[in-house]
C-alpha cells in the first residue's frame, strides 16, 4: 500500500507538471479524451446490454408430465401451476379441470410435492383423495387423477438429462468479459489522467489510488469467478463501469471522499457475493425472511430514535463517526421479504403480513421526512404485491388511496407542497426553489453530447450535486450520451429480469428480480426527472452513480437479486452449478 501510494504520488505529480508545462497540449488531450470516453462507454455498455438482451436461456427440464391420451409436457420450473387456463404452466384444456387446479413443485433434493388448490372436482393420487391446500409428497410414476383425468409424473433419465445439457450448452453464451475489461481499464486510466488535467492541484492522489484499486478489484473479481467456472459478467461490468463514473464524480466534487467510496464498493461487492451464495438455497432464503423483517423494524426504529437531520430528512444515523442510511439497507430486506414462492402466492396470510411490514416501513420513512424513499418503497410494494396477486383492481385502489394520503401530506408539510408549486416552472424560481433544477439543466446542457471533461464541471459547487443532481453532474462532465447510457443500463437489467422468468426456477427469484428492478428504475426516475423538472425534486440517489457509501453498498448488493434470476447455463454465481448428469446417482 505504501509502495503503491508512493507510485501513485509520482504519477500524479508527473501528470500535474505535464499539464502545467503544456497547457495547450493538455487542453487538446481533454478535447480528444471526451471522444474516447464516449466511444469506450458505447462499446462497453452496448456489448453488455446486447449480451444481456440477446441471450434467452433454454429452460432446464426437471421432469415430464403425462396426461391421459395427451402429450407429455416438459416441466421447466421448480414451481408449476396445473390447470385448465392458458396461463397455467401445465395446461390440461378439459372442462373437469379447474382453471388453477393444483401446484406441482420440485424440491432441491429432487423430491416432488403436489398440492390441490381447492379445485372443484378434486385430485386423487394413488387412490387417496387429496385434502385441498395440503402438501403431499409424490413420486414419479404415481397415478394422479384430476377431475377424472389420468395423469402421471415422469422423472428425467440420465440420457435425456445429458441431451438437455447439450442443448443448453448450445445457447448463445454470455459475452466474454476480457475485451470489455480491457476497455473499462482504458476508460479508468484515462479518467484518472483527465481528472488531474481538469482539476490540477485540487485533485488528490488518494482519489487516483481509489480508481486504480477499483480496476484491480474488477480484474480480481472476474478472474476469480471465471476460474470458478462462471461465465456471465455483464451485470458486474455494468456495475463496475457505473462505479467508475461514481468515483470520478466523487473525485471531482469531494476528492477526500473517494477512498471511502471505494471501500463502500468493496463492502457492496462482498455483500452481493454473500447474498448470491445465500440465495442459491431457496428454503434457507425463505426461512431468513422473518429475521430480516425483524432486523428491518429494529433498524428503522433505531433510525427514528437516533436519526440526524440532513437536507430536510432525518434518515441518517451516525455510529462512532461512521454515518449511514438505515433505510438503504432496509431496501435489500424489503425485496427479500416481498418475494414469495408460487405456493405462498395462494396463501392470503402471507400477503397481509407483507402489507403490514410495508406499511410500517412507509410510516417510519414518512416520520423521518424521507418522502422520496417512502415513494420508492411504496411503488416497489405495488409492483411486488401485483406480481403476487395479479389483482389489478386492488392495485388501482391502493394507488388512489395513497394519492389521497399524499394530498394530506402536502397539506401538513408545506415544504413539500412548495416543491410541487415549483414543479414545471423552475425557471421562474431560478434563484429560489428552482435553484438546483435550473443549475442541473444549465450545466447539464453545457456538457453537450460529449461533456466538458471530468473535473472541469461547475455543477459540483451546487448543494447535493453529486447525489440528487448527479444526472446533471454526469451530463456536464461526461456528456448526454454517457448519462443516457447509464439509464439504459438500468433499464436493461429490468428487461433481463423480466426476460428470465421463462426459465426461472421459482417465483421467489422472479419476484425478487422484478422488485429489485422496480426499485432501481423508480429510484432512477425520481432522481433524474426530479433534477430536470419533469417531477418535483425529491432528493433520492441514482443507483451506483450517486456519491454516498450506503447507496453504493446497496446498489451492489441489490445486484444479487438480478444474478439470482440469471438462468443461463453456468452464468451466474447465484445459481448452484449444474452437476454433470453422468455423475448423478439414481
Amino acid at each position: 500500500m505504501l509502495i503503491g501510494g508512493t507510485t501513485i504520488n509520482g504519477v500524479f505529480n508527473a501528470i500535474l507538471s505535464f499539464s502545467a508545462n503544456n497547457p495547450v497540449l493538455a487542453k487538446y488531450m481533454t478535447t480528444m479524451f471526451r471522444w474516447v470516453f464516449v466511444v469506450l462507454a458505447i462499446y462497453i455498455l452496448l456489448r453488455c446490454i446486447m449480451s444481456l438482451l440477446s441471450t434467452r436461456a433454454t429452460p432446464e427440464v426437471w421432469g415430464y408430465f403425462y396426461v391421459q391420451d395427451g402429450v407429455s409436457t416438459p416441466i421447466t420450473h421448480w414451481e408449476n401451476i396445473i390447470g385448465r387456463s392458458n396461463s397455467a404452466d401445465l395446461t390440461i384444456p378439459l372442462k373437469t379441470i379447474s382453471k388453477t387446479h393444483a401446484i406441482l413443485g420440485r424440491r432441491p433434493n429432487g423430491q416432488w410435492i403436489f398440492k390441490d388448490l381447492g379445485s372443484k372436482n378434486g385430485t386423487i393420487i394413488n387412490g387417496v383423495e387429496l385434502k385441498p391446500n395440503k402438501r403431499y409428497l409424490i413420486n414419479p410414476g404415481d397415478q394422479i387423477i384430476m377431475g377424472g383425468v389420468y395423469c402421471t409424473l415422469a422423472g428425467i433419465s440420465v440420457e435425456e438429462s445429458m441431451n438437455l445439457q447439450r442443448m443448453r450448452s448450445l445457447d448463445k453464451e454470455p459475452v466474454s468479459p476480457w475485451k470489455i475489461l480491457v476497455a473499462i481499464t482504458a476508460f479508468q486510466i484515462l479518467t484518472a489522467v483527465q481528472l488531474v488535467l481538469g482539476m490540477g492541484e485540487k485533485m488528490s492522489a488518494s482519489s487516483l489510488l481509489a480508481i486504480v484499486l477499483l480496476c484491480g478489484l474488477m480484474w480480481g473479481y472476474v478472474m476469480f469467478f471465471k476460474a470458478m467456472g462462471r461465465k456471465g459478467f455483464e451485470m458486474e461490468m455494468i456495475a463496475f463501469f457505473m462505479s467508475t463514473i461514481n468515483l470520478a464524480v466523487t473525485a471531482s466534487s469531494a476528492p477526500s471522499e473517494t477512498m471511502k467510496q471505494f471501500i463502500a464498493i468493496v463492502l457492496g461487492i462482498s455483500l452481493m457475493i454473500f447474498m448470491c451464495i445465500f440465495l442459491r438455497d431457496l428454503q434457507r432464503t425463505k426461512k431468513i425472511r422473518p429475521v430480516l423483517a425483524g432486523l428491518s423494524v429494529l433498524l428503522l426504529l433505531f433510525n427514528l430514535t437516533f436519526g440526524t437531520l440532513k437536507y430536510g430528512a432525518a434518515n441518517w444515523v451516525t455510529i462512532g463517526g461512521f454515518s449511514f442510511q438505515p433505510s438503504e439497507l432496509v431496501k435489500l430486506a424489503f425485496i427479500c421479504i416481498g418475494a414469495a414462492s408460487l405456493e405462498e402466492l395462494y396463501n392470503k396470510k402471507n400477503i397481509y403480513l407483507y402489507a403490514m411490514f410495508s406499511l410500517f416501513c412507509l410510516g417510519s420513512l414518512a416520520m423521518m421526512g424521507d418522502f422520496g424513499t417512502a415513494l420508492i418503497f411504496f411503488v416497489t410494494y405495488l409492483v411486488v404485491s401485483f406480481m403476487r396477486s395479479g389483482d389489478f383492481s386492488k392495485l388501482i385502489l391502493t394507488v388512489v388511496g395513497a394519492g389521497a394520503m399524499g394530498i394530506m401530506v402536502l397539506r401538513f408539510k408545506p415544504y413539500i407542497a412548495s416543491r410541487f408549486a415549483t414543479w414545471g416552472h423552475v425557471w421562474e424560481f431560478a434563484d429560489s426553489t428552482g435553484y438546483q433544477q435550473t443549475r442541473t439543466m444549465a450545466y447539464g446542457a453545457g456538457g453537450g453530447l460529449l461533456g466538458i471533461g471530468a473535473g472541469n464541471g461547475s455543477l459540483k459547487y451546487i448543494g447535493a450535486s453529486n447525489t440528487d443532481l448527479v444526472f446533471g453532474f454526469v451530463m456536464e462532465e461526461w456528456g448526454f450520451i454517457i448519462a443516457v447510457l447509464l439509464v439504459l443500463c438500468l433499464i436493461t437489467l429490468s428487461l433481463f429480469a423480466v426476460n428470465s422468468i421463462v426459465a426461472g426456477r421459482s417465483s421467489f427469484f422472479t419476484i425478487g428480480a422484478c422488485g429489485a428492478a422496480t426499485m432501481f428504475m423508480f429510484q432512477t426516475m425520481l432522481n433524474i426527472f426530479g433534477a430536470v423538472d419533469l417531477f418535483p425534486l425529491t432528493g433520492v440517489t441514482f443507483p451506483f452513480v450517486s456519491a454516498g457509501g450506503t447507496s453504493m453498498l446497496t446498489s451492489w448488493a441489490m445486484l444479487a437479486y438480478f444474478k439470482a434470476s440469471d438462468m443461463r447455463k453456468d452464468a451466474s454465481l447465484a445459481i448452484s452449478k449444474e452437476k454433470d448428469p453422468s455423475t448423478l446417482e439414481f
Binding site: I452, G504, S507
Partner: protein, 446 residues
C-alpha cells in the same frame, strides 16, 4: 410461473415510462439545450452575471466587444462604442436587440455536440454586418440629436449601418432603469409618424390602381379646402401632375390621390408592402407599424395617405420598402449576422417576396430621381446616384421630425437608407446631409 410472466408486464411498463421520460428529456435537451446552457446562473460562461467569453467584430474585422473571465473589453473609440451599442448590446442585457442578447448561443459557443466546451483556443466570435466607421459617421452626424440611421444592401440584405440615439457608453456607467430610452433601438423597435415619406406608398397604390393616373392633375392653392376642412401645403404649388406632386410633396394632390384610391386599397397596400408586419432580422422581431384608413372621413383618409393622421411606421420596414423600389420591386430581408462561409458571401439575401411590379418600381425610382433633381438638388450629393424622398412629420410639437429615405444606384454599393431625426425641422435639409455622409463613408470603406 406463466402467470408471473404476464404480471411482469408491470415492470416493463415502468421501464417504458423511464425510457419515454428520457426520450422526452432528450427532445427538450435538443430543442432547449442552448437556452438552458446560456442561463445566467451558468458560471462556466458568466462571471458576476456578465458573460465571460466570446468576441464580436464588425464587417471589417474591427473589434467591438471581447468578453473574458477578467472583464469586458470594448472598442477603444467612444463614438464607436456609443454608435454600435444597440447592435452589440450590453452585458447586462438591457439592450434587447443587442447581439450579446440575441445570439448569446453563438458567443458562448454552444453547440449540441460540445455544449459550452470550447474546442478552440481563441474562443467563439460573431461578425456583424455593420460597418463601425459608418456607424461612427452617422452618430457624429446626428450630433447629439435624437434619431436613427439605417443603411442596408438591398441585394444581400446586409445591414451596413444601424445607429439609434439617445445612446450610452457601455464602458461607462449605464442608467439603472432598464426602461431608459438609451436602451431603445429606434431603428428596429420604434414606430414613428412617417410624414411625406409615406407618399411613396400612396404613389405606388395610385400608380397601380388608378387607370387615369397619367392624366392626373391637381391645382394647389396652399390651403386646399376639402369639404370645409383644410389640407395645407408648405406653399402654393399651383398645378401639379403625378410626378411633380411627389417632387413638390403636395399634400393637396396626395390627399386627392388617396381619396381616389380609397381606404380599402390603401389598407391592402400597407399590408402588402410589409408595413403592418414584423420583420425577422436574424431572430429579432421588429416592431410592426399601424395605420387607420377611415371609411367615412375623407379628410382623415387624406391625411392618412399623406403620412399623418394615425400612421406609424417602423424605420426598418421603411428601409426595406425603399430597398424594394431599388431592387426592381423585390424586397430582401435585412440581416445583421455576417455569413461565415463562402456560399453565404456570394448568395443574395433572403427574399421577402415581390412588393411591387417592376413597372411600378421603375416609375417610383424615376420619380424619386426627379424629386432629388427638382427639390433636394443633385449638387448636394456629389458622386452619389441618389434617389430619395424626404418627410417632415408633424407630431404636434413645435418642431417637426425630419425624414430622408432612399437609395443609391451603384452596382458595387447597392445601399438603401433611412434617416430620421427628431425635431430637426424640414426633412431633406436636416436629414439629407446625414445620409450623404454615411453613404460616402460606406463607399470609401467597402
Amino acid at each position: 410461473m406463466k402467470k408471473l410472466e404476464r404480471r411482469a408486464a408491470i415492470c416493463l411498463a415502468l421501464a417504458a415510462v423511464l425510457f419515454l421520460g428520457i426520450v422526452y428529456f432528450g427532445w427538450k435537451f435538443v430543442t432547449h439545450g442552448g437556452e438552458w446552457a446560456s442561463f445566467y446562473g451558468n458560471t462556466q460562461i458568466y462571471t458576476n452575471g456578465m458573460i465571460n467569453r466570446g468576441t464580436i467584430y464588425d464587417r471589417n474585422g474591427e473589434l467591438l466587444l471581447n468578453c473574458t473571465p477578467d472583464g469586458i473589453q470594448y472598442s477603444s473609440d467612444s463614438a464607436i462604442r456609443k454608435s454600435t451599442v444597440h447592435a452589440v448590446g450590453d452585458p447586462k442585457g438591457n439592450v434587447a436587440t443587442g447581439a450579446i442578447n440575441m445570439w448569446k448561443d453563438q458567443l458562448i459557443g454552444y453547440d449540441i455536440l460540445n455544449g459550452t466546451y470550447d474546442t478552440t483556443s481563441e474562443g467563439k466570435s460573431i461578425t456583424l454586418t455593420i460597418d463601425s466607421k459608418a456607424n461612427k459617421t452617422a452618430y457624429n452626424a446626428l450630433n447629439g440629436r435624437e434619431g436613427t440611421v439605417g443603411v442596408f444592401n438591398y441585394k444581400t440584405g446586409e445591414v451596413m449601418c444601424m445607429v439609434s440615439t439617445p445612446t450610452f457608453d457601455p464602458a461607462g456607467t449605464e442608467p439603472s432603469d432598464p426602461n431608459s430610452s438609451v436602451y431603445f433601438n429606434t431603428f428596429l423597435m420604434g414606430t414613428l409618424t412617417p410624414g411625406s415619406t409615406f407618399k411613396l406608398v400612396t404613389a405606388a397604390a395610385a400608380y397601380d390602381t388608378l387607370d387615369d393616373i397619367g392624366s392626373f392633375g391637381f391645382t394647389c392653392d396652399g390651403t386646399n379646402t376639402y369639404e370645409g376642412e383644410k389640407i395645407k401645403c408648405t406653399s402654393n404649388h399651383g398645378h401639379v401632375n403625378f410626378e411633380t406632386a411627389l417632387a413638390k410633396s403636395c399634400n393637396g394632390a396626395f390627399g386627392s390621390l388617396t381619396r381616389q384610391v380609397g381606404p380599402a386599397t390603401m389598407g391592402e397596400y400597407v399590408k402588402e408592402l410589409g408595413f403592418t408586419d414584423s420583420i425577422n432580422v436574424d431572430g429579432i422581431e421588429t416592431a410592426a407599424g399601424s395605420f387607420t384608413f377611415p371609411e367615412n372621413s375623407p379628410i382623415d383618409l387624406s391625411w392618412a395617405g399623406i403620412g399623418q393622421y394615425q400612421d406609424l411606421v417602423n424605420p426598418c420596414a421603411m428601409m426595406v420598402y425603399v430597398g424594394s423600389i431599388a431592387n426592381e420591386g423585390e424586397a430582401v430581408e435585412p440581416t445583421l449576422l455576417k455569413g461565415s462561409n463562402f456560399l453565404d458571401r456570394i448568395s443574395s439575401g433572403k427574399s421577402l417576396g415581390r412588393y411591387l411590379d417592376k413597372n411600378t418600381a421603375d416609375k417610383l425610382k424615376q420619380m424619386m430621381k426627379y424629386d432629388v433633381q427638382m427639390t433636394y438638388g443633385e449638387g448636394n450629393f456629389p458622386g452619389l446616384d441618389i434617389y430619395a424622398k424626404s418627410g417632415t412629420a408633424e407630431v404636434g410639437t413645435s418642431k417637426s421630425n425630419s425624414w430622408f429615405v432612399g437609395f443609391i444606384d451603384d452596382p458595387k454599393h447597392p445601399y438603401a437608407f433611412v434617416v430620421w431625426i427628431k425635431g430637426a425641422g424640414t426633412g431633406y435639409t436636416a436629414a439629407g446631409p446625414v445620409a450623404r455622409n454615411v453613404l460616402n463613408t460606406l463607399i470609401a470603406e467597402n
